[in-house]
């Protein structure tokens, strides 16, 4: 029996063949995948393209600013994975919750955080979305139910189960969406959370961004069984492997999963097969990947793909694309200017927010 290939809306497998990949023995839900639920119209596709481009250009500016030493710390870029954040977010409402990872600029921007608030946080300024205390890895916005921003691999998963538990206990028709990577799938916390969520029928959308590398360790070197959707399905939850480079496929699968969750059928799992075009972080020399592999994945760039599709359909011309790019450039320019001008959090406020009544410790001998 050959390894089953996931069927997505477009019928394409996003993952390249992996040497030594083990054969799936269980029937995979990926094979029956979520059916399409109607194509988005032109306006919708334009919005998806704009949202992906906004993330891409924001992060490209971050690279420049990092090189110029304007922003520091660990900066993990999402370039190449934009279809995941944008597609999944399309399926969520403002009342839903999102829990994210350290590679979360894309999730934050897709969730509606302003470029200004995120950029100011990258600068460590008082106007940043975490008041300068979080930086690139810890973006938060309680008003948008965006719960970060966790730099512990898999650390956000139990927390997401708790958000979903609270909604379930109070009968609120909300969904909690938790993003994590293939590295998190190897952590006990993923499996503890999947078990708990399925056991308690929690309204939780588990979104595994399988970009084939846990930092520098390839999927085949970190997982005895690399078919993640199949393994997730073993917890008794619907699980699909989807082409994460196709924003339409991501959106449709996320919509189907969210519909199921809202209907009360418990947690759903999506394995989105994607790739980061850049290294793990700005510190990473990226010695563990072959250039040919990176180039192959770049040929499936979700932004290029949608752009070509829209051009072929006559839905996008150069002038429209230029207008979109200009609007994004202007927004990011304004965000950078604002971050440059923004006040720094005063050092006197160092101990604020340690506890809700803070600074109580300093007054004590």
């Amino acid at each position: 029996m050959s390894a089953a290939r996931p069927t997505t809306r477009t019928g394409k497998d996003s993952a390249p063949p992996k040497p030594g990949r083990k054969t799936a023995t269980a029937e995979r839900k990926a094979d029956t995948g979520p059916p399409p639920v109607g194509r988005p119209d032109v306006r919708r596709r334009t919005d998806l393209l704009t949202a992906m481009l906004r993330i891409r250009r924001f992060e490209e500016r971050c690279v420049e600013l990092y090189s110029a030493a304007k922003i520091r710390g660990f900066v993990h870029l999402y370039i190449g994975e934009e279809a995941v954040a944008v597609g999944v977010n399309e399926a969520l409402t403002p009342e839903d919750a999102v829990v994210s990872t350290y590679r979360e600029h894309g999730h934050a921007l897709a969730r509606g955080l302003t470029a200004e608030a995120v950029m100011a946080e990258m600068y460590g300024k008082a106007t940043g979305c975490s008041g300068g205390r979080g930086g690139s890895m810890h973006l938060f916005d309680a008003s948008r139910r965006f719960y970060g921003g966790s730099a512990i691999v898999a650390g956000g998963l139990p927390l997401a189960a708790g958000l979903a538990l609270a909604d379930r206990m109070r009968g609120m028709p909300r969904v909690t969406c938790c993003f994590f990577g293939d590295g998190a799938f190897a952590e006990g916390e993923f499996h503890e959370t999947a078990n708990l969520a399925a056991l308690w029928n929690l309204p939780l959308l588990l979104v595994c961004e399988n970009n084939l590398y846990a930092m520098g360790t390839a999927l085949t070197r970190e997982h005895a069984q690399t078919d993640l959707a199949m393994r997730a399905a073993s917890y008794g939850m619907p699980a699909w492997a989807v082409d994460g480079m196709d924003v339409d496929a991501v959106e449709q699968s996320a919509r189907r999963a969210v519909e199921g969750i809202r209907a009360g059928t418990g947690p759903h799992f999506l394995e989105l097969r994607t790739y980061r075009f850049r290294a793990h972080s700005m510190y990473d020399p990226d010695r563990y990947r072959k250039k040919a592999e990176i180039e192959e994945w770049k040929s499936r760039d979700p932004i290029d793909r949608l752009t070509h599709l829209m051009r072929d359909n006559g839905e996008l011309d150069d002038s429209e694309l230029t207008r979109i790019e200009q609007r994004i450039t202007d927004e990011i320019d304004r965000a950078v200017d604002a971050a440059e001008q923004a006040p720094e959090e005063p050092v006197e406020d160092l101990l604020r927010h340690v506890t809700s009544t803070s600074a109580e410790e300093v007054s004590r001998p």
Binding site: R133, Y147, P158, L159, A160, G162, A166
Partner: protein, 331 residues
């Protein structure tokens, strides 16, 4: 069902704790109890016996043996407006959830610039004395007291067992409560509260003028017994129950040492890097010129707590050790 503990009645530490949980569940819909065996089993130490029948499986929630998942779920539920009380069987097991406690519960408020307070109570047993060997007997309160962003409580009396939970639940931040396993059967008359329990300050359990015995949790009865022995010899010991290990109330300690000029710190944790070390350092910083003798520490031997009775007893601080330390300071 066991007797309901009310003021002025004879009760146990276990029943006092249960009554506190019952009151919390009754008075606030957002409160729920979650942990291993808290429901059908009645709680590993019998604390939650009967609560499942009274409040149902949604609010007295048995969990899988998944410390990280259910502590993290408590954090998430707290973020979403609930008031979870999470029970971990022992502090040794809490290490499986230390990531969630330290990297999320204690950190989210600060990391988010004040946006995400975590109103969560985590209860766990601690301590040795029941021949349970190394993986059920340690005292790691000091680990948790090391962490900014959480409050750490060690109720040592019936009154604190009964009345600390309500203010802990009212605290907008994570509160970790340590219940020493040897205290559950402690019994006595539960006195009516004269004031709400103050989670910011240590308590003087026995006033005295000659020496300060500074302790918390399961060592309080031993310190009291030592004070009784010393009193018979004409040495008037003051017994201080730290009760809140973070934020530590250094002022009460400093004021006591200013009166007695001698200090013995009793801590069931290992001596090296212990809470006793922290208290000792604070006395050195704040009370150096008040001291008439070096600070004494009575801690556990630096060994994983053994099973054999005589070895376990030898490893732990005992009343005789406290009396001997007091003599060294006074003589």
């Amino acid at each position: 069902m066991n007797a309901v503990a009310t003021e002025g009645t004879k009760t146990t530490y276990r029943e006092a704790m249960r009554e506190a949980l019952r009151e919390a569940l009754r008075s606030d819909d957002r409160v729920f109890l979650m942990g291993e065996d808290v429901g059908r089993y009645g709680g590993c130490f019998g604390v939650s016996l009967g609560l499942l029948e009274e409040f149902g499986p949604d609010r007295v929630r048995d969990t899988p043996l998944s410390e990280s998942a259910f502590v993290g779920a408590g954090i998430g539920a707290a973020l979403a407006g609930m008031r979870p009380v999470v029970e971990i069987m022992t502090v040794n097991f809490s290490l499986l959830a230390l990531d969630q406690l330290l990297n999320n519960a204690a950190t989210l408020l600060h990391m988010s610039g004040g946006q995400l307070p975590v109103p969560l109570v985590i209860r766990m047993t601690t301590g040795a004395g029941r021949q349970l060997a190394a993986q059920h007997s340690h005292s790691l309160e000091g680990f948790y007291a090391h962490i900014p962003g959480i409050r750490v409580l060690a109720p040592a009396t019936l009154e604190d067992a009964r009345h600390m939970l309500a203010p802990a639940l009212a605290d907008p931040d994570p509160v970790v409560v340590f219940e020493h396993g040897s205290l559950y059967n402690a019994s006595g008359e539960l006195l009516p509260p004269t004031a709400p329990v103050d989670l910011d300050h240590a308590a003087i359990r026995r006033p005295g003028t000659d020496i300060s015995l500074i302790t918390y949790g399961g060592s309080l009865p031993k310190a009291r017994a030592a004070a009784d022995e010393l009193a018979a010899e004409g040495i008037d010991a003051e017994v201080i129950d730290l009760r809140t290990l973070r934020p530590l109330d250094g002022a009460t300690v400093t004021a006591s040492v200013a009166r007695t000029h001698r200090a013995v710190i009793v801590d069931e944790a290992w001596r090296t890097g212990s809470l006793a070390a922290e208290v000792s350092a604070r006395i050195a910083e704040e009370s150096f010129y008040d001291l008439d003798a070096p600070v004494e520490r009575v801690c556990s031997a630096e060994v994983p707590i053994p099973y054999a009775r005589q070895l376990e007893e030898a490893a732990l601080p005992q009343t005789a050790d406290i009396v001997a330390a007091a003599h060294r300071a006074v003589d």
